[in-house]
């Protein structure tokens, strides 16, 4: 599972960050060369302005190879979301498949861009859209992606990835409107949530502390 989770790091951790911090780059790049499919459990906690408590969902994240990613949600409902080929498809239960062009869903597209840029080693491609910075060491690193373009800035404030060694633990997508979506992965996801409705600050601390 650790190896699988490492594969998913390429979805989330920009190669350009490796260039900025070469030591980290070396240690992270070891995880490359995975063969798809690779998968990890996830727990997603979203904090939204329209809601008075966080929404929690969990399931499995899968890298299908190439520029394709699948998210199988099992709790609290059945949903399969696929990212790739320029679109996002969502199928809830046995219902019909909804298709959404990634061009219209920048948050989802940003995830995929990072992923594909990493796989193809296209740091420059990622740097077109994001400013990258990395801190920490192999024991705990944090990579932050800040959108460059005004268009993206209107939707996304930042993406922050916490990780240890070759594996990411936690990805936080901060929307421009203040909403935040935490995705816990690997061991952190396996460990589960201690609180049915964790406060945002508590969850952020947990991402920092690690499993």
């Amino acid at each position: 599972m650790r190896r699988s989770a490492r594969a998913l790091v390429w979805l989330l951790v920009p190669v350009a960050a490796l260039a900025a911090t070469p030591d980290l780059a070396q240690s992270l790049i070891v995880g490359m060369g995975q063969t798809p499919p690779a998968e990890t459990p996830f727990i997603q906690v979203s904090y939204r302005a329209v809601l008075d408590r966080p929404l929690i969902a969990s399931g499995t994240l899968r890298w299908l190879g190439g520029e394709r990613l699948e998210r199988d949600t099992t709790e609290p409902f059945q949903e399969t979301a696929r990212l790739g080929d320029g679109e996002l498809t969502v199928q809830r239960g046995p219902g019909r498949v909804h298709r959404i062009a990634l061009a219209r869903a920048p948050q989802a597209a940003a995830l995929l861009t990072g992923f594909s840029a990493l796989l193809s080693g296209d740091a420059a491609g990622l740097e077109r859209d994001f400013t990258l910075s990395a801190t920490g060491d192999a024991a705990h690193w944090v990579i932050t992606l800040a959108p460059r373009t005004r268009e993206l800035q209107q939707r996304i404030a930042s993406i922050v990835v916490d990780g240890r060694g070759h594996a990411p633990d936690c990805l936080v997508l901060h929307d421009a409107n203040g909403d935040a979506t935490f995705t816990l992965m690997g061991t952190l996801a396996k460990a589960g949530l201690k609180d049915a409705a964790p406060a945002q600050a508590a969850l952020a601390a947990r991402c920092q502390a690690g499993p």
Partner: protein, 789 residues
């Protein structure tokens, strides 16, 4: 007249032609709208066809496919082309799959509760709202949450999304990177031109503009752009026909020049022979510009063909000149006969003036004006420009022998009867269709292009160009209500695979009655507040989040229903406008139809993949004809039939007028018969050969037959002439041989064309010239030719 004066006059003549031509080019608009060239519509469907459908949906669609690069590149180009065409006024709409309809029509959003069918089946009560809000929570958990969030507060039941889906194509192609792709990996787009489908000129302009936009996109050079659709086919056909006509024109020009050099052994004819015809043509155009202000493209094509007889006038002059006699004197001797020919033909064309069809009236004005001017130039200008004759054509080697040969041919009295009987029998008994009313058969689209069009059309779910569903009612609201009633019936037809898809006007705008019914089902503020409070119990939504929703519902309760006029001002307005048309309103444009019938509106439903046209008969029966399937191909052909009948009547009257004019000019019925007999039989024989070869006749054949008859009139008139002078007879033969040879050369080459319309003209005229000449010789009055032998 000395040499310098002649050259000066020649230049002046050229200059006047050029100046007139220049003036014409600036003042005469060439119109390619079929509506000006066909007779006034007889049936309501024909009127709809001409007045509206030319501007209607299916025929204005261009299907585009980009290929030859990785999909991501093609997607970029598709977006680039989409953006460029959206700015181009030649296009009403363009779609490549990337459109976010909810963003396109913000002005319609307040009306969403009146436009969306949700309230037909549901009420905004607590159970429905709770079910909806629970779904929204699931939506917020999905990766698409960010898309939804901006709408959530004001539109928790997602009516906006439902409308966007309702207005999106029903069977869209698969998308990649947000734009449509075919199974073969081509990026697909649909563009709708502003110009009518019947207007090939404007269609070609739009296509050229489209190609320019595409070429300007970065990296477009490596990518292959395929265009398909009626506009493209029309443009290709016109281009192909023109290219072939130009190619053959070049060949025949060289041949014609050689022929003139051989026949007259002088360069003078080469320099001046075209001038009378050119003068006639520019004069004809100038007349059209003055009288009508515009000319139809087909008028120009037909008119030029008919004006071809004028090419003979200068040739006659060259053949009849004598050494030592001023050219003017020779022309003066020749003139009575030429004048007879010109006047007779012009009188005959008067019949077209009375046809009541603008296109035919234009044809008459152009041809009569052109022939008179070409004749006048030949009579008064040409002799003053050419130097005196240096040789007598009567002395041409071999000519006397040819004369003797022709004179010795047997001329049995029964020959005309036999020729006539055989002609009639063949024309009457030959199997096969007599008429070709499918004009597109004359400019066929290559099979590969048709197959590609069908493939793209299916992939895009684009509407069929042949069939339309017509819904008639006394008012726009009546049409919309009818359209609402028909939708379930059509859905049943789709289930039964009688058709693949449909789009009715009510898809965009429900009738006011339906909108009012939905409005009546919207709860008042207090009721909605209570239902919402009950629905939200236990859900994690913050208090007061849905205040904008409550306010919008309250506003929608008080909105005046959306009218077609109002809807047409929206971003989607053009689509409704094309689908909702007055069918017996005041006459449009130049058409002289009275519009004093009761008010009538027509809804035009587009259909895709009509597999079983017969299945629509039920709809027509159930609605007593208010709804019926319109077969555009059949209706167009019916129009062509009506048009052809008008032409036939005009030609019949023209023939009578011609006979009268010739009889009057020759002052003898017997002599007139000598002229008209061969003409009639030769025309009959051309018909017989075409029929025997299984070639159905089109309008182009009719026009060509008329040109051939005009030429035949010359042959017969000149052979009939009594000169009492064998040298003059030899000159007549020389002139006729040169005329026949040049006509056979020009039209015989055209008969080899791969374009059916050019082949039709070439074959008919070439056959006609051959028969007219042969019969003129064989039926020349007894003793007339023989006397000299």
């Amino acid at each position: 007249m000395n040499h310098a004066t002649r050259i000066a006059l020649w230049f002046v003549w050229l200059a006047v032609i050029a100046a007139t031509g220049f003036w014409v080019a600036r003042h005469l608009t060439i119109n390619s709208d079929l509506r000006d060239f066909v007779p006034p519509p007889q049936s309501a469907d024909q009127r709809l066809l001409l007045d509206e459908i030319g501007n209607g949906p299916g025929s204005r669609l261009l299907l585009l496919a980009l290929s030859g690069a990785p999909q991501a590149r093609l997607a970029d180009l598709s977006r680039g082309l989409d953006a460029a065409l959206a700015e181009d006024p030649a296009f009403v709409r363009v779609a490549n799959g990337s459109a976010d309809l909810a963003n396109i029509a913000p002005d319609l959003l307040p009306y969403r509760y009146l436009l969306s069918p949700t309230l037909d089946a549901h009420r905004f009560d607590a159970p429905y709202l709770r079910a909806q809000l629970q779904q929204r929570l699931e939506d917020l958990n999905s990766p698409a949450a960010s898309l939804l969030e901006p709408w959530l507060r004001s539109d928790p039941t997602l009516e906006t999304l439902k409308l966007a889906q309702r207005w999106a194509p029903q069977h869209p192609p698969r998308t990649f990177d947000g734009v449509w792709f075919s199974d073969r990996g081509e990026a697909l787009l649909v563009a709708e031109t502003r110009a009518a489908g019947f207007d090939p000129g404007a269609q070609a302009a739009a296509i050229t503009s489209l190609q320019k936009h595409f070429a300007a996109l970065p990296g477009a050079a490596a990518v292959h752009l395929v265009i398909s659709g009626p506009g493209w086919f029309g443009m290709q056909a016109a281009r192909h026909t023109r290219a072939e006509a130009d190619r053959f024109g070049a060949i025949t020009t060289v041949g014609f020049v050689l022929l003139l050099l051989i026949a007259y052994r002088s360069v003078v004819p080469v320099l001046v022979t075209a001038l009378p015809l050119l003068s006639g043509a520019v004069a004809g155009f100038a007349l059209l510009a003055l009288v009508f202000g515009y000319a139809h493209g087909i008028t120009v094509a037909f008119g030029f063909t008919l004006l071809g007889v004028a090419q003979e006038y200068p040739l006659r002059v060259f053949s009849h000149r004598r050494v030592g006699v001023p050219t003017l004197t020779c022309v003066r001797e020749l003139w009575p006969l030429l004048a007879t020919a010109i006047t007779s033909v012009c009188i005959a064309y008067l019949a077209f003036l009375a046809s009541g069809v603008v296109g035919l009236q234009q044809l008459a004005v152009f041809t009569i004006g052109g022939l008179v001017v070409a004749g006048a130039c030949t009579r008064w200008l040409l002799p003053r420009v050419i130097p005196p004759a240096r040789r007598d054509m009567a002395a041409t080697p071999g000519l006397a022998r040819a004369w003797r040969f022709l004179a010795q041919l047997p001329r049995p009295r029964w020959l005309p009867w036999l020729v006539g009987a055989v002609g009639i029998v063949v024309v009457a008994l030959a199997p096969g269709r007599f008429w070709q009313d499918d004009l597109s058969a004359l400019t066929p689209v290559p099979k590969a292009e048709l197959a590609r069009d069908a493939r793209l059309r299916a992939a895009l779910g684009a509407p069929d160009v042949r069939y339309l569903l017509v819904l008639r009612a006394a008012s726009e609201q009546g049409v919309l209500a009818l359209s609402e009633r028909m939708a379930p019936h059509l859905r049943r037809l789709v289930v039964r695979h009688a058709l693949d898809g449909f789009e009715l006007p009510s898809r965009y705008l429900p009738s006011i009655a339906t909108q009012r019914a939905r409005q009546a089902r919207l709860p008042d503020r207090a009721t909605l507040d209570a239902a919402l409070a009950q629905a939200l119990e236990g859900l994690p939504f913050r208090a007061g989040v849905f205040a904008p929703f409550v306010a919008d519902v309250e506003a929608a309760r008080k909105l005046p229903p959306l009218t077609p006029r109002h809807f047409e001002t929206s971003a989607l307005g053009a689509r409704l406008e094309a689908m909702l048309v007055p069918c017996a309103g005041p006459p449009r444009g130049r058409r002289g139809e009275a519009g004093n019938e009761k008010p009538c509106w027509a809804g035009l439903g587009t259909l895709s993949g009509v597999n079983d046209p017969a299945a629509f008969a039920v709809l027509a029966q159930d609605t007593r004809g208010a709804v019926h399937l319109l077969d555009l191909k059949a209706s167009t052909e019916a129009l062509i039939v009506a048009y052809r009948q008008r032409i036939l009547v005009a030609l019949g009257v023209a023939a009578l007028l011609l006979a009268g004019a010739v009889t009057l000019a020759l002052r003898s019925p017997r002599r007139a018969l000598n002229v008209l007999g061969p003409m009639t039989l030769a025309t009959l024989w051309v018909l017989a050969v075409l029929r025997a070869a299984g070639i159905p006749l089109s309008l182009f054949h009719l026009v060509s037959l008329t040109l051939a008859a005009g030429l035949g009139l010359h042959y017969a008139l000149f052979f009939e002439r009594r000169t009492g002078n064998s040298a003059e007879d030899l000159r007549t033969l020389h002139a006729t041989l040169v005329c026949v040879a040049s006509a056979l050369l020009v039209f015989g080459v055209l008969a080899l064309s791969s374009v059916p319309v050019l082949r039709a003209i070439g074959l008919t005229v070439a056959l006609g010239v051959a028969f007219h000449f042969t019969l003129s010789v064989l039926m020349a009055p007894a003793g007339h030719l023989r006397r000299e032998a």
